[in-house]
């Protein structure tokens, strides 16, 4: 049976339909569930194999992006979520979903004294921007990125700069392969360079704006947990499923399917074996 995908919807979530559609095209069985249903009965999650936190502005991103829903998860859903993780299931956070994963402590564990390991801070540009970026996979850690070297996807966010509490934590995450997805340079005309960068060591050079759209140190675009089964990313794979979503498909640059689809297929196929 294809895996069931819980698309978590909260006030202000707005990429739920296209994320569900992406899972559907990939062969999954998505179902949109309001967070209030999950708060009423957290065990509802048991019936699903994949949890997807789609993009949007949960609770308006008031205070900070993903903070309020992140805290709701901390206060009311922590047990259910940890059980979900422990059961070997998959969690994907896209854009606001990534922000929620980070702020809920589901993706990277807190330190009792020093607090959260990382955050997604305001873009260095100080503003929301929608633009396409070139991405390269920097480790084999994330289940979602299996077999994917590079992707071309759009970002659309204001708070996407991945900032880690301190240098040792960042180094440890990098060494552990958890900084799985990176922004890659573009050439002079703004076109992506094709060569993927595979290892953390070569991903070290800071890619300039706008190829790195938010100024993330080490060009971090997506991060996974220590198991590789929980993954969050700022770019929107669900916005590159169809070839006509590619910004230059009229120039013959798009493939048969969009780059983002493979990520959803990886998630669905994880349960096929």
């Amino acid at each position: 049976m294809p895996p069931r995908v819980l698309i978590l919807r909260a006030p202000g979530t707005n990429c739920d339909r296209e994320s569900a559609y992406a899972f559907e095209v990939a062969g999954g069985r998505p179902e949109s569930v309001h967070v209030n249903r999950l708060l009423e009965s957290p065990r509802l999650a048991d019936e699903f194999q994949i949890l997807c936190l789609p993009g949007g502005f949960s609770y308006g991103d008031d205070i900070a992006a993903g903070r309020i829903l992140g805290n709701q998860i901390r206060h009311h859903l922590a047990d259910a979520m940890h059980a979900f993780k422990a059961a070997g299931k998959l969690i994907l956070g896209i854009c606001n979903g990534f922000q929620i994963l980070i702020k809920s402590g589901l993706l990277l564990e807190d330190d009792g004294v020093r607090g959260p390991a990382a955050t997604l801070a305001w873009n260095a540009s100080g503003k929301f921007e929608d633009r396409w970026v070139r991405l390269v996979t920097a480790s084999t850690k994330s289940v979602f990125l299996a077999g994917i070297d590079a992707m071309y996807l759009p970002v659309a966010h204001a708070e996407g700069k991945f900032v880690v509490r301190d240098e040792p934590t960042l180094a440890a995450l990098d060494a552990g392969g958890q900084l799985a997805l990176r922004y890659a340079p573009l050439d002079g005309a703004g076109v992506a360079l094709a060569s993927p960068v595979h290892s953390p060591s070569t991903a070290g050079d800071q890619v300039p704006y706008p190829a790195n759209p938010n100024g993330s140190p080490r060009n971090v675009a997506g991060v996974c947990d220590s198991t590789g089964r929980v993954f969050g990313l700022m770019p929107h794979p669900e916005r590159h499923i169809d070839r006509t979503q590619h910004p230059r498909w009229t120039r013959g640059e798009a493939g048969e399917i969009g780059d983002g689809l493979r990520l959803f297929q990886n998630a669905v196929n994880y349960f096929a074996a």
Binding site: T244, P247, T250
Partner: protein
């Protein structure tokens, strides 16, 4: 206890707000390099101890990775101790009652900690370096705060509590009117902010004399709002006697007999093929999209509020037009937004501004931010727009917001039944926006900021998103019979409209309010945002109630559509209004107006010919209307919902100017919708007939350029004009409406919806004590929506590859009047562009056939800047050069010139790239339309244009692109 949590950037982290303020202060010449340190603050009132306050600060309000906090009770000196070298403290708070979404969310999130605070407010804190007092005052006014909605405290806060509002004590207010003379009536109209004319005041007086009683305050307000220009469009839908050089025409209902009549005729001619579903009736026009769905389109303006509070005005403008979509049929799903703005040039010197106006740069930044924050949060892509600059918009910036929706066929109509419940869904009612409907009908003055501050609002997009989610779910379950939005006029307008044919009784004391103290009148006319009204059969109410509760959306029964033909308002036991619906909706005396149009004399345009126009082209590309709007576009999420096919920015580096946007609203289908616009305020100075015709032509050709089927394009009109009490001003509008009628008919392109905003004038008293008035130029926005059978046939404007043929389609005329070439040359006079609508129809059809057949590699509409600008844009967007020769350009001028061929802004023209192998087929497709092969694309990165044996333009693509990108690269 009143706690304050101040949140600063941690050591080594950027202070982005401070950087922004420093740069704005420098822009305004207040300080070259002002030292600023900023903090966000939260005031939390309630029974919390210090440990709880610190916990909230650390775990909710601040981000410990990048921020640090100061937590103390208000009054504690730690809060007013400078954190660094900057000693001067300025704090900015929302005025009480102004929507503060972050505070609202924080209140809920604190409750999640199991704590129960009473109230939360946000504040912004600025520590400033040395600055003279007068400069500080200016900085507060122009950069740090907007006193329409915010208050500034210099120094420490002295605040004891946050709660405000005291319980309301009912007292019925009646307003004596029966004995007033004309002066008294007009005084009442003005002082009560009713903004009614004398004939209307007299009609009301007679009505109440007949009833033998005085009106209550809420009755007068209801009448004023229903009869306002904003709600009833009494001028344009009224009687008009119009005279021009061809004689006199009399209209009983001008809009109905021109624009609406054209649509009726087009629908009649289409017969079975009529694809209009509902026009000029519902909150948006409705068109057939496919076997299952219709599409809806509505464009609104929100000009007056945006002049006073650009962020809030634009923010609520977007929110309002989205509610129009939600309020169409039984509720359409918004699928994209459009926005068009008119501003004064952002480089206008500060001392050239009339008193009481905000600097255009600030207006533009605020408006863009307002549109961005609402649209992005709603998850609706903003895909198309335009910005026009003219000094005459200085006191009256224009903000047009459009919303396209998708709705199933069987949900496209609504009908309230007698005895249905009146249910309010969404946001609570507060004092926000009292008198917005009547205010928008008034002329702005330099005093408006103080007099009308209450009419300005801030939106809360998430509340509206929650309403959207439950409303569409309720629609699909059939839980209500009709829906409309609470826009201008609030409940008064929504309930009045829905119950016009039936009658209604409303229980005002049951409406949920934001705070205590609202009178029954305030509840009735409040324009608080994010509210919808639905009519619900009694037996469905429990289900609707449960659905709303399940998603945390407030829904309340506030009355019933009782079949009495009367509008009865109650507050508890008290009957506070009792009006007949007939008087309310049909009692207004007809407005009769004179309209005159005298075409201005033609003054020849003279610009000395020269041999090289490269510099002129660079200037045209850098002129503000033409220049890249990438800074704006990228701040909008234009791809959410996943249906984006042709984006607003296209080409090799994703930064060329697309003619129109195309999206697939149904992700599993290849069918698309194209959205575009056309507007030419500069042409209105010559003649508003061809101006309007040009706007239609431009909107339609933009749509055609990307691949929409011209037989399936519909348009919307938005008239923003000056004071139509002046016969000449109204005359210029009627003339434009006649053009709309003629061109729509000739193209077979129906108008499906429209809106007008009159009285866009700004008056002030100048330094010599003389009253000055600035009227905006006639500003007709035409928005177009077109259908695309298969999006894979769409095309974009960027040159694709070297070695292709370049064609010019359409006839070039000597029409440099109002052109951007004339603008950059500082030249006046000439003749503005005209439209040959019969030829246009043939050209659009032929172009579409060529695109559909796959013969076209790139297609760009020729508009601002003419052929030269279009070719430059195609070249630098595609990173492909071109060698062009103008001698073959089809034209109808007696004497042609390089300037005319390069820069004339004649309508119905396209520049097209076609591969060599398709050239013959393309020429065959265009055989009945003027066209010529004018050159080829090249592999060198240059644009060269030759004429009469010489080279008139020679520029490298980098230089051309830089000229186009640099002016608005903020």
């Amino acid at each position: 206890m009143l706690w304050e949590v101040d949140i600063y950037a941690a050591e080594g982290q950027p202070d982005l707000a401070a950087a922004r303020i420093r740069s704005d202060a420098a822009d305004l010449g207040l300080a070259a390099n002002l030292a600023v340190r900023s903090a966000n603050g939260f005031l939390v009132e309630g029974p919390l101890d210090a440990a709880a306050a610190v916990r909230i600060a650390n775990e909710l309000l601040a981000d410990r990775v990048v921020e640090r906090t100061v937590v103390a009770q208000v009054g504690d000196e730690r809060l007013s101790t400078p954190p660094g070298a900057e000693k001067r403290l300025v704090q900015v708070l929302m005025k009480p009652g102004v929507m503060d979404p972050v505070a609202q969310s924080a209140l809920g999130a604190i409750a999640d900690f199991g704590m129960r605070p009473d109230a939360v407010r946000t504040l912004r804190k600025y520590w400033l370096g040395d600055l003279a007092d007068d400069k500080l005052r200016l900085l507060c006014q122009k950069v740090l705060a907007n006193d329409a909605i915010e208050q500034v405290v210099v120094g420490p806060l002295r605040l004891e509590r946050l709660e405000f509002g005291s319980p309301y004590k009912f007292a019925l207010v009646t307003t004596p009117i029966r004995e007033l003379d004309d002066d008294g009536l007009m005084r009442l109209s003005r002082q009560g902010q009713l903004y009614l004319k004398i004939a209307e005041m007299r009609t009301i007086q007679v009505h109440f004399r007949e009833l033998g009683r005085e009106p209550t305050d809420v009755e007068l307000e209801t009448i004023a709002q229903t009869w306002s220009e904003h709600c009833s469009h009494k001028t344009l839908a009224g009687r008009i006697a119009y005279r021009d050089e061809r004689g006199e025409r009399r209209y009983g209902n001008m809009l109905k007999e021109t624009i609406f009549a054209a649509t009726q005729e087009i629908r009649r001619r289409l017969g079975e093929a009529d694809w209009c579903v509902s026009v000029f009736k519902d909150n948006a026009g409705v068109l057939r999209f496919d076997e299952r769905h219709n599409v809806t389109f509505k464009v609104e303006t929100h000009n007056h509020p945006s002049a006073i509070e650009p962020y809030g005005g634009a923010n609520t403008g977007v929110g309002g037009v989205i509610r129009d979509t939600l309020g169409t049929g039984l509720g359409a799903k918004p699928i994209c937004n459009t926005d068009v703005f008119c501003f004064a040039p952002p480089d206008m010197p500060g001392d050239a501004l009339p008193p009481g106006t905000l600097h255009p740069r600030r207006v533009m930044k605020g408006v863009v931010a307002g549109v961005r924050d609402y649209g992005n949060r709603m998850g609706i892509p903003t895909v198309n727009g335009a910005i026009y600059f003219d000094p005459r918009y200085v006191g009256n910036p224009l903000v047009y917001c459009g919303s396209v929706g998708l709705i199933p066929h069987d949900k496209s109509f609504k009908k309230t039944n007698p005895n249905d419940l009146i249910v309010a869904i969404g946001g609570r009612t507060g004092r926000d926006g009292i008198h917005g409907a009547t205010f928008s009908s008034a002329e702005l003055t330099s005093e408006s900021e103080t007099v009308s501050g209450g009419a300005v609002q801030i939106g809360n997009a998430i509340t509206e998103k929650m309403v959207l989610d439950v409303l569409l779910a309720a629609r699909d379950r059939g839980l209500f019979t009709a829906v409309t939005d609470c826009g201008a006029g609030g409940f008064s307008s929504a309930v009045g409209e829905m119950g016009a044919e039936i009658g209604a009784e409303v229980w005002l004391d049951r409406a949920p309010v934001k705070y205590a103290g609202l009178s029954y009148t305030e509840i009735w006319i409040s324009e608080a945002q994010e509210r919808m009204v639905v009519s619900v059969a009694e037996e469905k109410w429990p289900q609707l109630d449960a659905l709303c509760k399940s998603e945390g959306v407030e829904a309340t029964v506030i009355g019933r559509f009782v079949p009495t033909g009367r509008l009865v308002l109650k507050y508890g036991e008290h009957r506070v209004a009792d009006l007949s619906m007939d008087f309310l909706h049909d009692g207004r005396p007809p407005v009769v107006r004179e309209a005159v149009y005298v075409p201005p004399p033609v003054v020849p345009l003279s610009i000395a010919p020269r041999t090289d126009y490269t510099d002129a082209l660079l200037k045209v590309l850098g002129s503000l209307n033409v220049a890249s709007k990438e800074w704006v576009i990228r701040q909008y999420d234009h791809e959410v919902q996943g249906g984006s096919v042709v984006k607003p920015l296209v080409g090799l580096a994703n930064d060329g100017p697309s003619d129109a946007a195309v999206l697939r609203p149904v992700l599993s289908s290849r069918r698309g919708v194209a959205v575009s616009c056309g507007m030419n305020p500069r042409f209105g100075d010559f003649d508003t007939y061809p101006m309007a015709a040009s706007a239609i032509d431009e909107a339609v050709r933009n749509c055609v350029a990307v691949g929409a089927d011209p037989a399936r394009i519909a348009i919307l009109d938005n008239f923003c004009w000056g004071d139509c009490d002046r016969p000449e001003t109204l005359g210029s509008l009627v003339r434009a409406a006649i053009a709309c009628q003629d061109v729509a008919l000739a193209l077979g392109t129906p108008f499906i919806s429209g809106k007008d905003s009159l009285n866009n004038e700004f008056s002030y008293v100048d330094a010599r004590g003389v009253k000055q008035t600035i009227a905006i130029p006639p500003s007709l926005l035409i928005s177009a929506i077109g259908l695309v059978d298969d999006v894979e046939r769409c095309t974009t404007m960027d040159f694709k590859r070297p070695g292709s043929a370049v064609y010019l389609v359409g006839l070039t005329r000597d029409e440099l009047g109002g052109s951007h070439f004339a603008l950059v040359e500082g030249a006046r006079g000439g003749v503005g562009p005209t439209v040959d609508a019969r030829q246009a129809k043939a050209t659009f059809t032929a172009m579409h056939e060529a695109i559909r057949a796959g013969l076209v590699l790139a297609c760009h509409d020729l508009s601002e800047g003419g052929l030269a600008a279009a070719l430059a844009e195609m070249a630098f967007a595609g990173g492909v050069g071109a060698a062009i020769e103008l001698d073959a350009v089809p034209h109808d001028a007696e004497t042609r010139s390089a300037a005319m061929l390069l820069f004339s802004e004649s309508n119905t023209r396209f520049a097209v790239e076609v591969s060599e192998e398709n050239a013959a087929a393309f020429e065959a497709a265009l055989k009945d339309t003027p066209h010529a092969r004018i050159g080829r694309t090249t592999s060198d990165a240059r644009l060269t244009i030759d004429y009469a044996g010489g080279t008139v333009v020679d520029g490298n693509l980098k230089q051309l692109k830089e000229a186009w990108q640099s002016p608005l690269r903020w």
